[in-house]
Amino acid sequence: MSKTILTVDDSRTMRDMLLLALSDAGYRVLQAQDGMHGLEVLQQEMPDVIVTDINMPRLDGFGFIEGVRRDSKHRAVPILVLTTESDTDKKDRARRAGATGWIVKPFDPAKLVAAIRRVAA
């Protein structure tokens, strides 16, 4: 059974690019528009990996990660953060919030899939 990836990003462009790259790689893709929406999706879905943006309305990536880690059902799901540039400050904050790893934007499909493979069993 193919793995399910939840992508959380407020940018339609980014969601579309993630969808294209991930579905081409054979993953089932769920989409959420911001952290709040992401937590709502998690009420009824059990993704194998979450890919999330940081800057989002309503609930940003940091808050979303903290929310996921507080939820006993999902606390063990790997979370990859999308960051622009190699922003060490952001990576550090994301790590402290509980992110498993990160993907530097702009990404290419191979790199995205490699990062997912790295954290998914």
Binding site: Q33, P106, R118
Partner: protein, 727 residues
């Protein structure tokens, strides 16, 4: 379409939305909005544009967005105050960003000097003097290289044997935080194994007695020996996500020392089995840490079980939650929507034709067929309404373009202007919105250029130095009403009148009411080169604005108060696809009169109708003389005048609020009709707004009430001349 091209298109659409958000956010901040979320939204807009632009290698856009983003980040962090001066720079930066987006979309060139100058202005706002930016930028420039590295990796895979082999000794001791972040030591081992030959020894000496195991703890430590053709960077990359959450030692050596690791894998497996067993004995739900990773690693069947449907109540609740989050949307090609609208239009016509045939067949109204048809009609109408609603959009998209225009014209004219918009959420058909942009642009230019006085004059008149232009939209009796008003000097009536006389538009001794004088500005030929300034002019006068509004089935009027300003009011139909009309008979022809124009219908009495001059007649309605217009003669359907007593009069209101009575032979009824363009295959016909297809399958014309009333004022001989000229 190639999926990447489609995403690129999405990106540009999204840019438009983000640019609009950026501008409205900056304007809100300028107006005193201190909500941190507003600044965040503004920051996010620029950040997203930069992110997407990076994906498509739009370097100019990325570079400028980056500088802008840095400035906004300072504002967001409170390091930079959002003063009016700062905001002015940022608003202009938003304009540049918008130019850059358009240039990227259309592949055109941008004014690089202007971009660079504004980037410098933004950097100058930086409280740190903008030093770090350069570093970040160089960082950005390196990004394409990252992609190339991946390519090299692939190459390596094909040349496994050609590289010299290295041996690494790796000591890896995860800390509890590693597991808390959902990383797994087992996956790290798996990835290392993919790099080459791996020997693993597990050190479980720290493992406490089973009963004392903290499920969140980390007790294992691995000693590994990796023989690989990859270099140390590649080995360290495997630990990229876990480096902070473990003790890691990597040493490289030449010797191929064999560890006692041969049995290590078996040991680990045994250990994991042990732990798993302990868990099952406890019967406790697994939460996290080592135990969980063991669980998920071993049990492959649960994912299927998780797709079991949720209890109905819970699912409903979740669905409700999702609704609240943001009503989900899909993007559809406009062509598809239009095809659907056309088809529904055909359906409405066909349904009407069918109803008429059934009626003609003499079936009773209560017959099952007739009742069924009634229901079909109801359904058809509902489908039509729903389909029309798809095309409805808030006027926001066109209103949003105006602040930039105002800034530009204010800068050119040296006037200080504040634009206030209201009713941006008011919805109207997309086509109406698109075709509103030009007339609105012209009217706003006009309001600033001609309406508002210079700052000196305003101060002298006791007005605030800053002029006010207000743009508003609202729904009123099935139409959308848009107003553009200014608090300027108002129409200079003596001047307007003298211009009109000069241009030969009115007689020198014409006695005109204030209202009539104000409306002279809509006359073709009123606005000419001598008064066209750089801004309002460009050869377009208010007559063109009026014509474009009329082409949309709308009306425009002006109200002005000397010293207080002017208000232009436009009233437009909500859709260009259907219209509620009164179906009437005139000289054997069936015509449709838009219901919105009709105030009331009446049966003229002999005592009420009076002749006036040669051909003109008036009708007295509640003691007010109203022009009586013979539609049959106006449209040249017949030569002789209709007998008012054998006719019906429709009291109509035209643009500017004037009233006239239209004389028709009989009223057939009211119905909603699908508007069909005459221009598509023919051309505009004077006095006719459009056509429609009635239940009998024949074409009926829709009367242009304003045009008929307007031409009826022209000398009757006009039509004969026109006919002669055409024929």
């Amino acid at each position: 379409m190639d999926p990447m091209a489609a995403i690129r298109e999405t990106f540009f659409q999204e840019c438009e939305e983000q640019l609009a958000e950026l501008e409205s956010g900056l304007l809100a901040i300028e107006a005193g909005d201190s909500d941190p979320e507003t600044v965040n939204a503004v920051f996010r807009a620029v950040h997203s544009i930069k992110g997407g632009a990076g994906a498509f290698s739009l370097d100019d856009l990325v570079r400028f967005a980056h500088v802008f983003e840095t400035t906004l980040d300072h504002v967001r962090a409170g390091r930079l105050a959002a003063t009016p001066e700062t905001l002015k720079v940022m608003l202009r930066a938003a304009d540049i960003l918008s130019d850059l987006v358009r240039a990227a979309r259309e592949g055109t060139a941008v004014d690089e000097a202007r971009c660079a100058a504004l980037a410098d202005e933004l950097r100058a706002l930086d409280p740190n003097g903008g030093v770090e930016e350069e570093d970040d930028l160089s960082d950005l420039n390196f990004q394409p290289v990252l992609v190339q590295l991946d390519g090299l990796d692939d190459l390596d895979d094909f040349e496994l044997t050609s590289d010299p082999r290295h041996v690494f000794h790796i000591k890896f001791k995860p800390r509890p935080s590693l597991y808390a972040k959902a990383n797994e030591a087992a996956l790290v081992l798996r990835d290392l194994r993919e790099l080459g030959e791996l020997k693993v020894a597990c050190d479980a000496s720290d493992l406490p007695h089973l009963t004392e195991i903290d499920p969140e703890g980390a007790y294992l430590c691995w000693d590994m020996e990796l023989t690989t053709d990859k270099d140390e960077t590649a080995v360290r990359e495997v630990f990229e996500f876990v480096a902070w959450d473990c003790d890691l030692e990597i040493t490289q050596e030449g010797a191929e020392g064999a560890a006692s690791g041969a049995d290590a894998d078996a040991e680990v497996a045994a250990l994991l089995a042990l732990v798993r067993g302990a868990d099952q004995n406890d019967g406790e739900p697994v939460s996290a840490g080592v135990t969980e990773s063991a669980m998920t690693g071993a049990t492959e069947e649960p994912p299927a079980a998780q797709v079991v449907p949720l209890p109905v109540k819970q699912a409903a609740k979740a669905a409700e939650g999702e609704l609240k989050a943001a009503s989900p949307t899909i993007r559809v090609d406009l062509d598809r929507v239009d095809r659907l609208i056309n088809l529904v239009g055909e359906l409405v016509i066909n349904q009407a034709m069918l109803s008429q045939r059934v009626l003609e067949a003499g079936l009773a109204r209560a017959s099952a067929v007739a009742v069924g048809l009634d229901e079909l009609e109801q359904l058809t109408r509902e489908i039509q309404d729903s389909v029309m609603a798809i095309r409805a959009q808030p006027v926001k998209s066109v209103f949003q373009r105006m602040p930039r225009l105002v800034r530009e014209i204010a800068a050119i004219t040296g006037k200080s202007v504040r634009l206030v918009t209201d009713g941006e959420a008011t919805e109207v058909d997309k086509t109406v919105i698109e075709r509103l942009a030009d007339p609105l642009t012209h009217m706003i230019r006009n309001a600033i250029d001609h309406g508002l006085e210079s700052p000196e004059k305003r101060i002298a008149a006791g007005k605030p130095e800053e002029g006010l232009v207000r743009l508003s939209a609202l729904h009123r009796s099935g139409r959308i009403v848009i107003e553009v008003s200014d608090d300027g000097a108002g129409i200079n009536r003596p001047r307007v009148k003298s211009i009109a006389v000069e241009k030969g538009l009115i007689a020198a001794d014409a006695q005109l009411s204030d209202d009539e004088i104000d409306n002279l500005i809509f006359l073709p030929g009123f606005s000419t080169a001598s008064e066209i300034s750089d801004i309002s002019g460009r050869g377009v006068g208010m007559d063109v604005v009026k014509r474009s509004i009329q082409a949309l089935g709308g009306r425009i009027s002006i109200a002005s108060r000397p010293g207080h300003g002017s208000t232009f009011t436009m009233s437009l139909p909500l859709t260009l696809a259907v219209l509620d009309g009164m179906v009437v008979t005139v000289a054997g022809q069936t015509l449709v009169v838009p219901l919105t124009a009709i105030v009331e219908t009446l049966q003229p009495k002999d005592s009420e109708v009076h002749g006036l001059g040669d051909n003109a007649r008036v009708i007295s309605i509640r003691n007010k003389f109203t022009p009586l217009i013979d539609v049959g003669r106006e449209l040249s359907y017949r030569a002789s005048a209709a007998d008012p007593m054998a006719s019906v009069a429709l009291l109509v209101e035209t643009e500017g609020g004037g009233r006239s009575a239209l004389l028709v032979d009989a009223i057939q009824g009211q119905r909603q009709v699908v508007i069909k363009s005459l221009e598509a295959n023919y051309q505009h016909v004077p006095g006719i707004a459009a056509a429609t297809i009635l239940g009998d399958g024949r074409v009926a014309l829709i009367l242009d009430v304003d045009a008929v009333v307007a031409t009826s004022r022209v000398e009757p001989a006009f039509f004969d001349d026109a006919m002669a000229a055409v024929g």
